[in-house]
Subunit: 404 residues, 4 copies
Amino acid sequence: MNRETEREADRRTGVWLIGARGNVATMAIVGARAIARGVTGETGMVTAREPVASLDLPPVDGFVFGGHDIAPESLVDRAERQRDRNGVPDGETLDAVREDLAEIDERIEVGTAVNCGAAVSADSEQVDESLAIRDVVNLIRDDYERFRERRDLDRLVVVNVASTEPELADPERYDTRDALERAIDEDDRDLPASVLYASAAMTAGHPFVNFTPSTGNALGGLRELAVEESVPHTGRDAKTGETLVKSALAPMFAGRNLHVMSWEGHNILGNEDGLVLEDEENAAGKLASKGDVLDSILPDIGHSRVRIDYTPSLADWKTAWDYVHFRGFLNTEMKMQFTWEGSDSALAAPLVLDLVRLIAHADEHGSGGLQPQLASFFKAPLGVDEHDFSRQLDRLYDYADRHS
Amino acid sequence: MNRETEREADRRTGVWLIGARGNVATMAIVGARAIARGVTGETGMVTAREPVASLDLPPVDGFVFGGHDIAPESLVDRAERQRDRNGVPDGETLDAVREDLAEIDERIEVGTAVNCGAAVSADSEQVDESLAIRDVVNLIRDDYERFRERRDLDRLVVVNVASTEPELADPERYDTRDALERAIDEDDRDLPASVLYASAAMTAGHPFVNFTPSTGNALGGLRELAVEESVPHTGRDAKTGETLVKSALAPMFAGRNLHVMSWEGHNILGNEDGLVLEDEENAAGKLASKGDVLDSILPDIGHSRVRIDYTPSLADWKTAWDYVHFRGFLNTEMKMQFTWEGSDSALAAPLVLDLVRLIAHADEHGSGGLQPQLASFFKAPLGVDEHDFSRQLDRLYDYADRHS
Amino acid sequence: MNRETEREADRRTGVWLIGARGNVATMAIVGARAIARGVTGETGMVTAREPVASLDLPPVDGFVFGGHDIAPESLVDRAERQRDRNGVPDGETLDAVREDLAEIDERIEVGTAVNCGAAVSADSEQVDESLAIRDVVNLIRDDYERFRERRDLDRLVVVNVASTEPELADPERYDTRDALERAIDEDDRDLPASVLYASAAMTAGHPFVNFTPSTGNALGGLRELAVEESVPHTGRDAKTGETLVKSALAPMFAGRNLHVMSWEGHNILGNEDGLVLEDEENAAGKLASKGDVLDSILPDIGHSRVRIDYTPSLADWKTAWDYVHFRGFLNTEMKMQFTWEGSDSALAAPLVLDLVRLIAHADEHGSGGLQPQLASFFKAPLGVDEHDFSRQLDRLYDYADRHS
Amino acid sequence: MNRETEREADRRTGVWLIGARGNVATMAIVGARAIARGVTGETGMVTAREPVASLDLPPVDGFVFGGHDIAPESLVDRAERQRDRNGVPDGETLDAVREDLAEIDERIEVGTAVNCGAAVSADSEQVDESLAIRDVVNLIRDDYERFRERRDLDRLVVVNVASTEPELADPERYDTRDALERAIDEDDRDLPASVLYASAAMTAGHPFVNFTPSTGNALGGLRELAVEESVPHTGRDAKTGETLVKSALAPMFAGRNLHVMSWEGHNILGNEDGLVLEDEENAAGKLASKGDVLDSILPDIGHSRVRIDYTPSLADWKTAWDYVHFRGFLNTEMKMQFTWEGSDSALAAPLVLDLVRLIAHADEHGSGGLQPQLASFFKAPLGVDEHDFSRQLDRLYDYADRHS
């Protein structure tokens, strides 16, 4: 068959989720299967809207899911817990995809949480921690390959949606492909799980998406590899709530030459993400990527801060309160406040599906390395300095126009 | 001297304000003179920021102010009242420009408020209401010309910053230049003041800015005139607060394919503008121009409403509360709220100065008719369908890049 | 059996709801039956908490429901619609009481909506509108009596939870029992439905609760009757959301001698109540009872306003934004804002059950006329000038202490 | 003259402020003198409102001010800085009292900041730190006495309005008068400044008010002394903003039997108080006293947290955002949010004057020890468990009624 004329709808796309039983993964799988079953629509998906919808993208209803996790709770149990606590998914939707979830759950392999911090690995089941790092990488890669073969996939996209790791100290020591390979060979115990997953994927040529603030493919050695081997990859830290609003609002202050003196952000959330971020080490990376947005758009900003607190009763809901104190003409001090109340997973899940579709498209078109057209999806987009949401979107639209 | 090589700094720009003793005009004059006196900066002015700052624009400190008004209160008294009630300008700034204000006040001529609604013309001093419409237009034009000659101006820009008029019924009857001229000749008593001011300015070739929701230069007959005579003009209804925020935020919902079910906006303000808008007739035009923004950016929006209420204690401060109810992936209902607390005049005044500078630039470069590059300044930009603030700004930046 | 020693638990209490298929009635019935079935608790019920819980009150699980309505939709259908749109009640709770609802639905008689305004009576089924008023009253009374006999009730409490009527003009013409009786006899077509229901109940000696802003038992003639015949009655307009908060917050400003210059309240809601209140006539009564609270607690208040708007997507949820502009020491102007997001029916329903229990208690103890100890339940408590929520509660607690 | 018949207006009341050049003290002095000069009113003062106004209280315009401080900045400079940064006091008011401030400034003695934490004592001037604790106490007492004699005062009230100290470890070791005296004699270096000031005042019989969360008169030994010597004292941590609102709102949730699952409070402020509270040690005491309110009123509360952050641009303004997540009937989850924007000093200052007047009244009437009628003024009222603002106020009103 002539590959050039084959459309994505006829090809099989595998989606391998690191953290496959977490909130975001569960909601992405539920959503994709609900779309496939015809019981929900595509609201919230960027790829369902023009001009992006005109691209030849792999259809969501054809996604074949698999993944790694260290949590013993099954996908069905997790989805039921989300239904009961958050009302999302609703009961009818869950019933429609319950069997799909059970089937997918059997394809989820035991993962690693090396250097993920104490908050993450409690009560977990992991690959043998005494294994050499090289062996762990090989195990992961074997999982990918076995999945690919057994499910007869044309392409496998790996997406990290696991809990946020503590920041890696001195990441520049892994700035080259050689240095990273050597570290793995020498059983370097500082490497965090996200790097092992990314390395296993990218050396095998699988497109990689880092949906989290963890290090993963941001490491210099992996970026070098991606360019040399023409593997598309992107990240990091998906922009779903408060930071999304900031990236839309801050340009307004800049565009009107209003001076922001203070921008305070206070986030409260009740899911596992919130619990992990109670741990200061795990929170550090998140806060770093959230902070870049304002400094980039408002270089003269006087003061900004982001707080993330765990409020158990909110379950998967995240509420942010932002307070912006700014000065205008004639030194007039003025204020803007907003609150944002969103379901963390319901905001994130469609972006996972969007990113799989779009990075598969890049892969199909031979575009390796970082993907600047995907900057609008991330708080700290790899390889892109632009944080203005509207300008980031323009890059995606330009890409869509070029390829349609 | 060769005009082509003369820079704007060496030329004299007149600024004629319709409603010259109102809040916005007073603050614009105070600000311009405070900049000239070196006691305040240019925060809040779009033209003070790159890339627009690179254009050869007439300097604010060289502006020569005049205008029409029907209010007997002097500029100095109005400015003192603003200081006492709003704290803007502060005492020191006002002291530095008090003499300038007194001098400018003597150049303010008695105006007309025909068809401006009962709320506007109370306690006012107007030109003889028994005069024929043609004679009123001539009087206005004579005021412009006398000012231009006496102050030895190279250019005169006319800006309407008067209170909002009731909407004009059946404006299409004035859709051609001929029809409008005929109506003036036949003493058509339906024509509102804003049209008379605009007509007098544009027939004499003066660039015209409509800062308000009133009809003015939006009339078909004047748009035809502007094209035929190459007079630059722009409007309408400056975007200073809630609508500005909407035009920055609504694209975020669109860009993420989130479905806005309801967008409620509630504005409370305490200045004369608020008092006039208590009158339902005067409010209609304002509400119309505010409404377009959401319908344009979010064509599928389920419901939206804007309320404007008069809250005397707020004086010149305007507070808006907006509530956005939207649906995302898996039918998840979510919410965003914001409040905006700004000084109406301090937000508007710098834009008056920006618009004078930018329309003078268009005039200098022979660009007549509507000015789409100025869309970002308006709630209902004449001749432009784009309401996304970021995209509107891009037009201005493109213009700046082309002319720098 | 000696009545004095019989406890309420052994007696049969009937609850007759005017508007028995509306949101509030449906939720009250669902809640009472869910308590009876052991699937929900008593959170939100004032009578479940000390010191009120110590009174000998009729138990909720023994309530026997009946009522009037003009809506054809069944109780089960309405409850399912509430579940689907609002998530309250949840599916499990509804399943547990579905059969109870179906049984109760059969006891709901066709009612009247005379003078209830156009917004209320659309698509309704009513008693023959050509009947004489006296005949309508008799029909209603017969419905009460038949229910009482068939269900073998010891006591029947009638509660008006129907949609808000337009205000009755010149209510003082019915200020005596005689005048009211004469008006009914002379077929006075100005009398609204709420008065007919109240009159039929109170002349038969049934305790009456007016949960709405409608006229009902507030009429002078009925108040006279209640005293003379020792019938306990109470109302009006249950305090469930924004006004509740006001009655708790306004005393704080008073207590600290802070001067409230403006208090703006903006309510948006999406249920039938909201739709009816879109009609200015129906809204008038509601706005009047909401307004009293601030004027009473803050006699020096400068300005206040309440807006109620219909926002369909909110369904049964009501969001209020209040903005309080106040002045403190040294003329310092300060601000407080709040938003309240509540389920209208879920807030109201437990108060219906509380009021039935408490007015039954008053009846049992021979206390006729108005019941000042119930003031905390109402926006415009009949016979009580106190609007401070805390002081109103103290009256209830004193009553409880006296009777325990 | 017979003391019994002498009215407070004829007697001389001295007010000694610990932290006399701080924000609160400065504003209290400015306010008292502005009242004396007739340029401001008594809005914000509880004692200016009935029923408290009927008590025979020392008039504010007769207060004679003095105090201790470690800051070198003069009262006039501080007041000017407040005017410029906060707009409170305004220029006219400050001009009217400038000379009074200069005169009072000369009566401010150098104080001690022993154990006040690093954040407090930077750039300060203090009494010789090598002095023995007993000598420091004596110096303080001598300052009090000299002031009393020189100004010919009938009574001296000492008020602590200094920055918050770190919490004292193991305060129970000073639980008796003897233990405390012994510790001072033995040069116990753990005793914080607030205890030394309180001890010096109370042993000399001066009424003492602790406006702050610092230890001061809360120590067991001083409480014993107050009872034995009949010295009136009160505290601690004046309730001026977010906690005041909480103490008015939380009873509403309790009164309606609504279950608060989470109550998040986020405070941002820009004054010295905020800077000091950036220091975790200094913040601990404040957070402790703020936390009691909710636990006391809502014993079943699921979760609560208070954050205090320093936002320099806010200067003396304090903004609080509170988010209340609660559950009502049928497990319905609902939400309330509020923001409070107040000038910290303008809210606190009138309470300083109120407390001086009211504790002088207690002293005049021979009422020693703690003063439960003053509970409404404090976040953690000494000797009172009631945190419901309305019930606290009732104690004050009962006191007023008893003594009027």
